[in-house]
Amino acid sequence: MTADAGAQHDMFAMPEQRSLWQDALEQLMRNRLAIFGVFVAFLLLFVSIFGPWLSPYDYTEQNLFRINEGPSIDHWLGTDGLGRDMLTRILHGARTAFLVGLIVTIGTTVLGVVLGAAGAFLGGWVDALVMRLADITMAFPDILLAAFISVVFREKVLELQLHLQEQYGWTISEGNRVYLDYLVIFGSLTLVQWYGKARLVRGQILSLREKEFIEAERALGASNWTIILSHLVPNSLGPLIVSITVGFGGAMLSEASLSFLGVGIQPPGASWGEMISDNLGQWRFNPHLVVMPGVVLAIVVLGFNFLGDGLNDALNPEQRRR
């Protein structure tokens, strides 16, 4: 007997009180694609933290005697045009992808929620300003705008770094220069991708505010905090969580696109997009050098999209199969 049938027919069962979140988790665990997404997310987290220790090579270590090799015992996924171990670079690319996904998502969520909520609650010129900014951002193709911002931004970051070096003697080692690239990517992608969440949050608040159950809640004498915490947030958080999850994959894909175009992570830093771009010349002779980072990127983004879909179903009780 399934849990659903039990709830319908067993009159004497005493079901424990469950919250929306417990229900959602149970629902999510029944969705195989979502489980795949969870698995991918955790694998990515693990690899991005421990990746560098899993491989005996350094991601910048070159071996010019063994370039463009296929998979072997020494190099499981082969080597690229400079004799660097592909597996190591893919593991390092996972760190880049995860950091970009995490920080850009945090950035866009904070910016989007703050601006969207401010627009919805304050209305008037604040709302108009936020929404026009969103319209303007939307009017440009994301990647084009991100590429433009990152080019401008990179110069500023380099100037700042130079300034800090002169002023305070803060130097940055060659191996850590990739973190400057991260900074540029985080900034440009956040500035390009915030508007989706701002519009989502604003729309949610505006529509929920008019809902009768909010009025009914007032008629019960509930305080504003009760209404916000028990009714507004659970009803608006679902779509936001879904947007965050899908946005995570989207941010990684955007980073790969920027790096592929050469305005993202700069060599020798490792990013899946940068690896595809780097090895594109080898496409005809060693297709695996291009395919492997591409496949990894596709699997990870797909995983996050599956997870987003699963969460969408799980967090929306009305869409559940009865």
């Binding site: 004497f12 009180q17 009025e215 009914a216 004498g221 009803n235 009305e318």
Partner: protein, 347 residues
Amino acid sequence: MATDTSSQPEIPLTGGAAPDRKPLLRIHELHTQFETKQGTVRAVDGLSLDLYEGEVLGLVGESGCGKTMTALSIMGLLPGNGQAVAGEINFEGKNLLQCSGEEMKKIRGARIAMVFQEPMTALTPTMTIGRQISEAMEIHLALGREEARERALELLDHVGIPSPRARFDNYIHQFSGGMRQRVMIAIAFSCQPRLLLADEPTTALDVTVQAQILDLIKHLAQEAGMTALFITHDMGIVAGSCDRVAVMYAGRMVEIGPVDDVLLNPRHPYTQGLLGSVPSLESKPGDRLYSISGLPPDLVSLPTGCKFWLRCPLADDRCREDEPELEQYGQSQAACWKVMPPRDVAA
């Protein structure tokens, strides 16, 4: 609890209530207005109404005549651009219009509860119904989670939800229409309020379920000695469930009295029109249903004189200039210059 009435002006006309009963709620000259771009909308325009302890009063009228706005004025839940600009609403010794937000929160749900028209939208979709019933009791009765849960289970059983333990953790969309309204009624009765405002409680339901829900509300209200205000446009509900009926037109009361008297001997032409437009079992196939000609007046620019004269078959010059006040006719009161022996209307 008796209202302290000594400080207020005496309202002479009470509309045929039993004399031994005390008023629980006294609305005196209530004016509720909305500021819009088109001008000031006078949604409730000088309404006086007493609700006596233990009675069920039906408030009827067309859409937009101010029934719901009267209820929302009582609750202090008028939409943003609306305000009760004048008058008094006295309940348990307090003028609700002068209560602070915090005072009103203690009254809402605990002393005055409301049943909404459409339970599907009036209940939160992401919270189990058990939690929603417990919530009000946790707020007002300071019950712990477990106590509230036990009480909520009792309530569910009491309002006729089969196997409440199994249904406790269901969401609102998993219930049928009638069961949803039962859940809402359980919430409304959870804190044992003195006054129940039911805003078209059965409009969203099947006819067969309507009767069950009305019986349930009436039964529960009687059991708890509760006073109820039924807002409706359905004369059948009034006839079946109410003790007294008040007819509103354009924000004013035009007739009030015991249900039997008003339905059998309607004095006001508007009441006569409303009753005449109810399909009757005696009408023959092919008969046209009576309808009141014209539309309700624009609440921004109300006509002078009687608000109904534009649509009234009996209107003359006096009706166009002077506004009639409520006068006693038999057991009821009506505000009309033209009160005459009632026409033969299907009731």
